[in-house]
Symmetry: C2
Subunit: 301 residues, 2 copies
């Protein structure tokens, strides 16, 4: 039991060290003063470097490690996925979109700066993700192009952009579970899947394993979304670090299934994630990481 | 003289055929109904497929041809640069930016549709450019990554995004010529340069020739910007197909140099462009194309 505690402690230390490494690299890859106008640089850094879980880059790094990538090989690609995620948060929060006031515990970027700066920061960050991937000399040209392609598919007209458009267009309509799943998939799932799959690719995983890693990430992402819904339904603004209760008009998993039904669905996704990871032949720290994310789930729900 | 006329006619026919080819390919590469929500798909197609000069893709195609690229090898990369250009127009026109009402002779996308759809269309189109480049199996992985890198550099915090931010931030200040040149470079030049250089790269040009092609495009772009300023200062909305007189509060080349001074600067850029193209060892249809663009310049000024 002491061994078990020590093992858990070791995993936590290692994860925290990886996350700190992502933060340091993000600070290096973000635009610096002297390039773009100061106000834009400040806005980008304000948004990108705000404390966060770094969920997507952690998936990339841990999936790469699970398949034997050399140390640091996936770091820039991992950061690119965090840039895309930060860009999508900025753009989704805009007055013309969700008109959110708080994000990651701070005023949203269009409130802290202004709307034009927010739009340019979002677009610039998305673009910077491709700049970082394309310039990643640690990867072969073929692999850089493949990572760009997977990221672009996740962002585009079958991913984040489509999901946000769909969310805005049918926000007032009653949604059934398949529509909720589709929306979650586009708005959240596709990027999480791509982040993990890119890590596996960089680690040299074969096609079947990459698919299974994608399924692992998809299930973890769905579980995570439900966990967010649970927090949103019951949590406070302080705990969530963003506006809560905003989804009340939407039809979320919680409002359809109730709290206990949503919790059961979350558990089902987590079990399926474990199975997929086992089938991929990966695991190790990646599986432990997913487990950690939901360690407090009983308290949260 | 009849030979000369026939030659000119042949060039015109060939250019028009290339432009039509770009238009057809753009229609194929644009998102189709059944992927993203219909409203977003319509907005993207409305903007991307509106009639235009296709200046950037023509530079890519003709630069590729000048260095011996096989037929069609640069077509998708060329279309990607038009997507980036269309995205930048959508975003620059937004209410939070230039708040423009007319573009390419049509209501701007946020007026014809709505602001959220316009933002998503702009972001989606930018992203689609990277999707198209990354998936271009006619190019090696190395070349796809290089094209992505050059495009991303042109868009990002040292290019279009920086230029738009700078334009908004110091719009009310008096600008000197070096500031005007820098702004033009970021807002227009960098993308034009990248479009031409990518064509030369796909054609197999060496580094020195790629640089010269960039200088050719830079000079043509500067001349073109002055031509736009001249039209803006004197032309009508009908002729320009977009809001005119909007730059009156800005300090443009025309307002600083006067009409005849601006014309002289334009001619100087065009002469330098010819020299750069000669030094690159390229030319042919690319030089003829640049000449055609300014064929009516005496009338315009």
């Amino acid at each position: 039991m002491d061994d078990q505690v020590a093992l858990q402690q070791g995993l936590l230390t290692r994860m925290e060290s990886l996350r700190a490494r992502v933060d340091r690299r993000l600070a290096e890859l973000a635009p610096a003063h002297g390039t773009a106008p100061d106000r834009l640089v400040e806005a980008v850094r304000y948004s990108l470097l705000a404390p966060g879980k770094r969920f997507r880059p952690m998936l990339t790094l841990l999936a790469a490690e699970a398949f034997g990538a050399s140390d640091g090989a996936a770091l820039d690609a991992a950061c690119a996925f965090e840039m895309i995620h930060a860009a999508s948060l900025i753009l989704d929060d805009l007055p013309a979109m969700d008109d959110a006031g708080l994000r990651r515990g701070l005023p949203t970027i269009h409130r802290a700066f202004d709307e034009a700066t927010a739009i340019l920061a979002g677009v610039g960050l998305l673009n910077q993700a491709y700049a970082v991937i394309a310039a990643d000399k640690g990867l072969s040209g073929e692999l850089r192009a493949e990572v760009c392609a997977r990221a672009a598919e996740a962002v585009g007209f079958m991913g984040l952009v489509a999901g946000q458009a769909r969310d805005l267009l049918d926000r007032d309509q009653l949604r059934d579970m398949s529509q909720i799943d589709r929306l979650n998939h586009e708005k959240t799932g596709v990027l999480i899947i791509a982040a993990a799959q890119v890590g596996a690719l960089i680690g040299g995983a074969d096609e079947a394993a990459v698919e299974q890693v994608g399924e692992f990430a998809r299930r973890v992402g769905l579980a995570f979304q439900i966990r967010d819904d649970l927090i949103d339904a019951e949590g406070s603004v302080e705990a969530a670090g963003k506006d809560t209760g905003k989804d009340a008009a939407m039809t979320t998993a919680v409002s359809r299934l109730g709290v206990s039904g949503a919790r059961a669905a979350m558990e089902e996704h987590l079990a399926a994630a474990e199975n997929a990871l086992a089938a991929a032949g990966g695991g190790g720290l990646l599986g432990a990481y997913a487990g950690r994310l939901f360690a407090g789930r009983k308290a949260a729900a």
